[in-house]
């Protein structure tokens, strides 16, 4: 028996747990909920053993290192810490309502790793710079904090949904969809039309997005339909990105590695950046219709969830607690230990490489969250929005930098 079989069993356990948690929401039978919890505990236990075994196996292979150093292992570890934190929250808050949201993420992440052969499961040796005890602490604490931020994100989205009384007029959706319909071809055009235009287009788009975030944070509490729109965008973004990347992985593998180029060059090539116009059009149409589905059906989801969810205050408090735990861990493990390690390896504790910079940006966003809460006494909607934006930063720090940008932290990449 080796670790990969155990990982398979854990994946299966998470699948069963996911089904049970969703049926718990649908049928509201306590027995089902209890079964869901037990299966989750079992899955977590098995995954823990599997992680330890993988560690042991690496020693047997004469490599000897903690299972935390490539994309495969970091995704497995991310899943593990998310489930662990979920289990703690379930126990502490005595509610199983969040299970139906967390377990699908855990299952999809594990299944995705297993299905996509682009992510190598082999225990590969480490380059000398990574052979440090700091690696273990740095990556371990970073991922625990990512997981707490992830839970905070999920809970914030639930808060935003619960916060909405009505979805607002169709005009709202029309604006958002219209913006997409206009921006997509424009972006497509500019992407091919010389560097200057491209740069300005993306900067402009970024500025628009940031302006919207700022507006939501400042005035969002009064404009609930806008917040609901933001919620729909977040859900679409999270689901859409995962799906598009999944398709990329699979096609990349089916086509085979014709060139020696890395996967990151091919990101979104099978969907949004495809060479074939109909595929691009179809991808964006799919995003739009998914967006519409989320936006139009959200209130129905809310009606179902309402019967299970604890009070709004509790959800808000949970978000805060997750960030209050995650932020110090991220500070100590992600930033400080990373800096100390870099200093012992390269003689520079801070080099502004993209991953460092993005983790600093994420750190800033959560710092804003904490200051808004402590100094200004903000609660509720605005906080949930900042928390959601913060997690977009986390996702970019974790995946975006490795896949899109380049730098010293290439170990998480696809090569």
């Amino acid at each position: 028996m080796d670790s990969s079989i155990l990982f398979g069993i854990a994946t299966l356990a998470y699948l069963i747990a996911m089904v049970l948690y969703i049926s718990y929401l649908a049928f509201r039978k306590d027995g089902v909920g209890l079964a869901a919890s037990i299966v989750t505990y079992a899955g977590l236990g098995i995954q823990t053993i599997a992680l330890l075994m993988r560690w042991y196996e690496s020693y047997q292979m004469g490599i000897g290192r903690a299972p935390l150093s490539n994309l495969y292992e970091s995704l497995v570890f991310f899943t593990w810490s998310t489930v662990l934190i979920y289990v703690i929250v379930e126990y502490k808050y005595k509610t199983r309502a969040f299970g139906a949201f967390v377990m699908p993420v855990a299952f999809l992440a594990l299944a995705f790793i297993n299905v996509a052969p682009g992510i190598k499961a082999d225990i590969t040796p480490l380059v000398p710079a990574l052979q440090s005890n700091w690696l273990l602490y740095h990556v371990f604490l970073s991922f625990i904090s990512y997981a707490t931020f992830g839970v905070a994100f999920a809970v914030s989205l639930i808060y935003l949904l619960m916060d909405t009384e009505e979805r607002g007029p169709v005009v709202n959706f029309g604006y958002a969809a219209g913006a997409l319909v206009v921006l997509v071809p424009l972006g497509h055009f500019f992407a091919g039309a010389g560097m200057m235009l491209k740069v300005f287009f993306w900067i402009g788009l970024g500025a628009l997005a940031i302006a919207w975030f700022v507006y939501l944070v400042v005035a969002g509490a009064r404009n609930k339909p806008q917040v609901y729109l933001f919620w729909s965008v977040c859900v679409t973004l999270a689901a859409g990105l995962l799906l598009a990347m999944g398709i990329d992985f699979l096609l990349y593998e089916i086509k085979g590695h014709l060139t020696e180029e890395s996967f990151r060059k091919h990101l979104f090539e099978s969907t949004f950046l495809s060479a074939s116009q109909p595929v691009v059009a179809f991808s964006w149409a799919a995003v739009l219709s998914f967006f519409w589905l989320v936006w139009s059906q959200g209130m129905r989801l809310k009606a179902i969830l309402k019967q299970f969810m604890p009070t709004q205050e509790l959800i808000d408090d949970l978000t805060y607690r997750m960030i209050a735990i995650g932020w110090p861990l991220f500070t100590a493990g992600g930033l400080v230990m990373g800096a100390v390690w870099a200093n012992s390896a390269w003689g520079t504790y801070w080099g502004w490489d993209p991953k460092e910079t993005w983790s600093l940006i994420t750190w800033f966003i959560y710092a804003i969250y904490l200051h808004a809460r402590y100094v200004r006494g903000w609660k509720g909607t605005q906080m949930a929005i900042i928390s959601a934006v913060g997690f977009i930063g986390v996702i970019f720090t974790y995946l975006g930098v490795n896949l899109v940008l380049s730098g010293l932290h290439s170990y998480g990449g696809m090569e």
Partner: protein, 499 residues
Amino acid sequence: MEQQKGIVEIVSEKVWKFFSSVKLAVVLLIILAIVSVIGTVIQQNEPPEKYLQEYSAATVQLFEAIGFFDMYHTWWFVLLLFLLTANLTICTLDRFPRTWSIITARLKPIDDEGLKAVPFKKEIIFKGGMDKAEARASQALQAAGYRYLVSGGPGVHHLYSQKGAYSRLGVYITHTSIILIFVGALIGTFFGFKGFLNLAEGEPSNKVFLRNEPMWDKITAAFGIGEQKVIRDPRVGVPSMPLGFIIRCDNFEVDYYQNQGIPTGMPKEYYSILSVFDLEGRPIIDQRRIVVNDPLTHRGITFYQSSYGMIPGASGKIVLTVRPKNEASPGELVVLDPGASTYVRSIDRTIKAVGMAPFGYRDPATGQVRFLRSEELINPTVELEVYKGKSLLYKTYVMKADSGEPAMPENYTIRYDDYWGARYTGLQVTKDPGVWVVYTGFILLCIGPLIAFFGSHKKIWVRILDRKGHASITVAGSANRNRLGFEREFNRIAEKIAK
């Protein structure tokens, strides 16, 4: 007589107010977060040709002018960081006295006015007299770990207690840590440097080439004051600086991960053996081994193992050990050039190194020696011919990592030791006198938030009033953090008193 405020006072007051606002901090954080993105999208510090490949000439010019290619060191980015630090400092100075007076304030017994402002309250009627009630209350407080003060007069007893007042310092510790990190970074740029040194095996150096000159030297150079340490030789192009001692690379080696005893070409570890001498040549450090993650420091200057490479056109020396088979003996060291031969006295043979390949290996199945093309010395393999006088006795191959046994027909063995002098070690050299300030900041940055988020300044008051032989007990409490947790604790204590 009222004094009119001078213009200086008004302006300084305004400036102080501006810098002490949290709004400014949040705005600066938002701006920094947004601006930082640019530098992650545009690759930093690339050669100009690369930018011209990616952007049009006009864009390159524009970006160059704004400083987007080395954004994190532009004056405006540093100014933003500086503003944030100034904001933090002044915020801290502005608020600290108030916090400190809250921390050091003597806790007073609670009165009716105070009771109105307290978030947690409980009224209990205790049938048993005031002294018994006080004993109860003191027991409950002690059990919960509160050390309390007592006061009172006729018909009224007060017990009051506080815990965790110093947790209010958590936020100041956090902010101070960030200020320290910034100050440490400034000390580093002013008085430290970053440089590099490529040393061939056996090569000494008394200077280092600079990437970042110490800012202080730049400033003194601009004013023409002070002693100039940086040497700007137009023939070299890169500024350099004397070390004040001599560093020598004695040896450099790379070990590769192996698969079935054959190196794979993926480096497992590389290391340099360095020796340090003073300027007169007296040895100070003898043969220290440095690897990635484990540097050597001498007089504040640290040498990091960072890269390596072959010296173009250089030929090294082959180092072999010849040892008798059935005798414990250190053997005889043989050093020869590729293609040359030498007479080995201890075995009365002449050894000729016919050829030298960077990557040879012994096929585990056939025992045949094969060669792969490589620029690096992955598994140096030497083809040897052994002569007695003029007559060839046998041929054999020796290599660094051998998956089998080389043919050694006579009663001695020849072992491959080194191919010395063809490689250089790439050292990153830095001096950063601010790093300990930064590290102190790091430690505080790890501690501060924990105290700030998980510590709580908790206060509990118990007032006992005489009501015709019974005691009317009022329990009140407040906490500045984690109210939900405190509420549970408060209820436990109140219950214990009431029971």
